[in-house]
């Protein structure tokens, strides 16, 4: 949890500094979440890679460039969403606003969309990319949208269309469904939960310590149910439930996922 906030809060000014100061050698670090390169190692988002590879636009080095992140996703599942997604700080603000609205007695919806919708979105994005010959993921996927927004801000170009799309996503999460985009609409989250379906890392509960207090279920952004061992591939391994558990009954561990 701490790591997540440090990475995202520190990451954004870091990115802005990289854009602003051209003397930084691009051999050390270039890019942003979605497509970065650090010390010569490509860190390509599997969703964006899939969009390039599917319509036959792949070159030989593409898979090699996608491999580091792909391996991480296979082992750690949807960890990117809970640790590295640049949308996380905005989601934290969204949750805080939801909380504040509730305190003020202003009702907010918490629509739970069915789980299959995110796979339908992923299908439309990849199928549409093939049909249109234009990468659709980069137009709706928050890490890509926020990278372009950071670029515009750092270059003094104002906000722009990518920021508008992010604002729509944020308003949806804030007023219609808590983390609803992440949970039910994000094509990246859908692909990561597919690729990480066999991930050995997950939340484990020691039943004898659990007092059924429901705190873990409440803090989870993605509607998982650690208290009743109902944690599936949609878990982003963020560890919020582990940190929130008052009795230390939960832990993130290898071979932890039990259905």
């Amino acid at each position: 949890m701490l790591a997540a906030s440090v990475l995202t809060v520190v990451g954004t000014p870091f990115l802005a500094a990289r854009f602003a100061d051209r003397s930084w050698p691009s051999g050390v670090f270039v890019g942003a979440t979605g497509a970065a390169r650090a010390l010569g190692v490509e860190l390509l988002d599997p969703l964006l890679t899939a969009g390039v590879a599917l319509p036959g636009g792949a070159r030989r080095g593409l898979l090699v460039a996608a491999l580091p992140v792909l391996l991480l996703v296979v082992v750690l599942g949807r960890f990117f969403c809970g640790w590295l997604c640049p949308y996380l700080p905005l989601l934290a603000v969204s949750n805080a606003v939801r909380w504040a609205l509730a305190r003020l007695g202003i009702p907010t919806l918490d629509l739970r969309l069915p789980g299959w919708i995110r796979f339908a979105v992923l299908g439309v994005v990849l199928g549409g990319t093939g049909a249109l010959g234009v990468q659709l993921a980069t137009l709706v996927y928050p890490p890509a949208l926020l990278a372009r927004t950071a670029y515009r801000l750092a270059f003094g170009l104002g906000l722009g269309g990518a920021a508008v799309v992010v604002a729509v996503v944020w308003l949806f999460d804030t007023t219609v469904s808590r983390a609803g985009f992440c949970r039910s609409l994000c094509p990246g989250g859908a692909l990561f939960s597919l690729l990480g379906a066999r991930s050995p890392v997950g939340v484990r509960r020691v039943a004898s310590r659990c007092t059924d207090c429901t705190v873990c279920d409440v803090v989870c952004n993605l509607g998982q149910g650690p208290m009743t061992d109902r944690v599936d591939a949609g878990c982003e391994r963020c560890g919020r439930c582990v940190a929130a558990c008052p009795t230390g009954a939960l832990s993130l561990s290898f071979e932890g996922r039990r259905r």
């Binding site: 249109l132 990468q135 269309g161």
Partner: protein, 188 residues
């Protein structure tokens, strides 16, 4: 993923495939090494790395959120390309094919666009003055632009030009006679 998820994925993919694209706005100038129109849009993920490393900020991204929002273009009149090839090195997907920053390779492989000269606006051609700026700044030399006739007016050779736009940037504000245009037929 359960059976319903699989069905949703398949249904989404099929409905996505049904979409047809309106004719693309060909004619945008792409960064050096760009694949031909069509292939470029398929391969570019809009990661902005090319714009990030561009030393002259010639590489821009559209401000909107439409289908073209993730595709870099060149604003040569405001800022020309200095042919450093950093963008081709930064591109992660091969949408910009890598070109080493060697003069021979650049001359042979960079095809951003072709120069189009409006002789009525060009100072030497229209007898308004002696200018020659385009010929002086051209990194390709006489292969791309020669000074001809008693007025020493510029004569462009599109086949020897890489389309970097240094001439367009240098062309005096009052004249703005030379423009880099996309290659007809989108040849790369």
């Amino acid at each position: 993923m359960n059976r319903r998820g699989l069905l949703a994925l398949a249904a989404g993919a099929v409905s996505g495939l049904l979409v047809r694209r309106s004719p693309s706005a060909a004619g945008e100038l792409r960064p050096p090494g760009a694949l031909p129109p069509g292939a470029f849009e398929r391969a570019c993920i809009g990661c902005v790395r090319c714009a990030e490393v561009c030393p002259t900020r010639a590489i821009r991204f559209p401000p909107g959120a439409g289908l073209d929002a993730g595709h870099p273009f060149l604003a040569l009149r405001e800022s020309a390309c200095v042919l450093c090839m950093a963008c081709t090195e930064a591109c992660p997907t091969g949408a910009l094919a890598r070109i080493p920053p060697v003069p021979e390779r650049i001359a042979a492989e960079v095809r951003i666009g072709v120069p189009v000269l409006d002789r009525k606006a060009c100072l030497p051609w229209s007898g308004q003055g002696v200018c020659r700026l385009c010929a002086y700044v051209c990194p390709l030399g006489t292969a791309a632009v020669e000074l001809v006739g008693p007025q020493q007016a510029p004569l462009f050779h599109p086949e020897g030009c890489v389309g970097c736009g240094l001439c367009e940037e240098a062309c005096p504000e009052e004249a703005r006679a030379v423009r880099i245009r996309a290659r007809p037929g989108g040849e790369a």
